[in-house]
Amino acid sequence: MNKELNLNKINLTKELSHVTDTEDIFNRPDVAHIFIHHHKVIQSHLLPGLKIDVKEFDDHIEVNTIVEKNTKIEKPVHMCFGMIPENGIQKMIINTELQENSSVSFLAHCAFPNAVDIQHIMDGNIKIGENARFKYLEKHVHGSHGGVKVYPHAVIHLSENAHYYSEFELIKGRAGVIDIQYEATCEAVSVLEMVTRISGKENDLINIKEIGHLVGEKARGLLSSRVAATGNTRAEVYNKLTASAAYARGHVDCTEIIKDKGIVSAIPIVEVSHPKAHITHEAALGSVDSKQLQTLMARGLNENKATDLIIQGLLK
């Protein structure tokens, strides 16, 4: 049964900011933010050089962001997406363009604290201009029910000497279903870093598909995944990094830990088609390392507490 909610903008803003611990940003004029509940903007504050054009539809919302040439936004821009009700679909089309020499850091709070049956679909298209710096930290707050399905998909293009860093983290609640699909193309001297940290419980389902193409000379890429699968969680990590230009360098790094009846798999693919390119990969899958576990047990922690501490560290 749906929780009774007062769905006016003020209350939704309050609730979302409370859940995501962002209440203080409203008193800070130097911090840009935008709050989107379902398919409506409920609160926003922009800064010079940061343009966000929003188109609201019944079945989705389109957010077009431009960071203008030479604009450096000092403080992280808070993007708060979410749904307070128990059921529904939030579909977002996110187009982001960083023009040359710009820099911005987005802190995306995705909150579905009461989800029983919610889908959060995000289709992103991110273009990072020459010498531009883009950082995107996506922090999810879910409820304890596991009834949320999250589909963040994005296509990313890095121009020459552009930097891209993204971090996806589930900071609270059950994963539910998480299906991440990011694919990036990197021009010369650009730097790509994708970091994902998720812990699954009960019957959660986690799929991570991250692909990077290092097509320009001296492009660099890192795909890093940390997943803990407890209960009956199933997790699959597919990381692919290709290098087709001289001095392109990359690394794929995947660690997955299981506990209880969790099942994990990793598919690291590295492909090099230029004799002067170089990519490495490492993957570690399995239960918690015995020496790590026994060290903590020798300090008095029982096996469960020791395992939880190791997993918390890994996902930090």
């Binding site: 015995s290 903590l296 047990m297 020798a298 008095g300 922690l301 507490k305 501490l309």
Partner: protein, 247 residues
């Protein structure tokens, strides 16, 4: 002298090989003991067996701690009774902060107490508390963190496996300083070592050779024999048929 730990007729075979052969030893409360002998003698195996580590539980004989038979109980239960183990090469943990690692072990969870333990081993809390216990720490730093976590736990008995392994002179001096401090506080430490410098820190020593205790004596009596006959080992880890004659 009060026995804190007693090992009775303990033997252990791994993959059909007798690693420990009928070990009998008493660990006196408030003393610094050394289990000393060449590499491969079985010293670390004995310490691992006392702690109850994985792979070292299928032994015969008994281990008593504070008068209670602990042979069948788990590592964490032994730890909660007051025993801990410091590894020769301590584990590293991705993402686990030093302050959280120490807090997990600490008898007092207060932040000031945690910081005090870092200071005691010569690590500035300002620089180290928020660092991870991971591969960015040098071998010496990791050993100091291990020691700080043991101090935070403040156990009755510490088994320190090769405490001088992989550390610089400065760290070793700090380690010895802490051992002396613990001795003053009447804590009980067992040093597992093949190093003369470490042996010199002990009050009492058990000489180990080929899985057997071949002599028990005051450390100062063992030192000359160990120095002359064991560094390097003159008889390939086979006990001298003449026996150990101490001056």
């Amino acid at each position: 002298m009060k026995n804190l730990l007693m090992v009775k007729n303990l033997s252990l075979s791994i993959n059909g090989k007798n690693i420990l052969k009928n070990i009998n030893m008493d660990i006196w409360e408030g003393y610094i003991h050394a289990i000393v002998g060449p590499n491969g003698a079985g010293k670390s195996t004995l310490a691992s067996t006392i702690m109850g580590l994985e792979g070292y539980r299928n032994f015969t004989g008994s281990i008593y701690f504070k008068g209670q038979d602990i042979s069948q109980i788990s590592i964490d239960e032994r730890a909660r009774m007051g025993i801990t183990f410091g590894w020769q090469e301590p584990a590293r943990y991705e993402g686990l902060l030093i302050k959280d690692f120490l807090k997990a072990a600490a008898r007092d969870k207060n932040g000031d107490f945690i910081f005090e333990q870092l200071n005691r081993v010569g690590l500035d809390p300002e620089d180290y508390a928020d660092r991870a216990v991971d591969k960015t720490l040098s071998g010496g730093e990791r050993k100091k963190v291990e020691l700080a976590s043991i101090l935070a736990m403040d156990p009755d008995l510490v088994l320190l496996d090769e405490p001088d392994s992989g550390i610089d002179v400065e760290t070793l001096d700090k380690m010895f300083e802490v051992i002396k401090e613990q001795k003053k506080k009447k804590r009980t430490i067992v040093l597992i070592t093949h190093s003369l410098a470490v042996l010199k820190q002990a009050d009492h020593a058990f000489m180990f050779c080929n899985g057997e205790i071949i002599q028990k004596a005051e450390a100062k009596k063992v030192i000359p024999y160990f120095e002359n006959k064991c560094i390097p080992c003159k008889h390939k880890n086979i006990p001298d048929e003449q026996g150990v004659k101490l001056e």
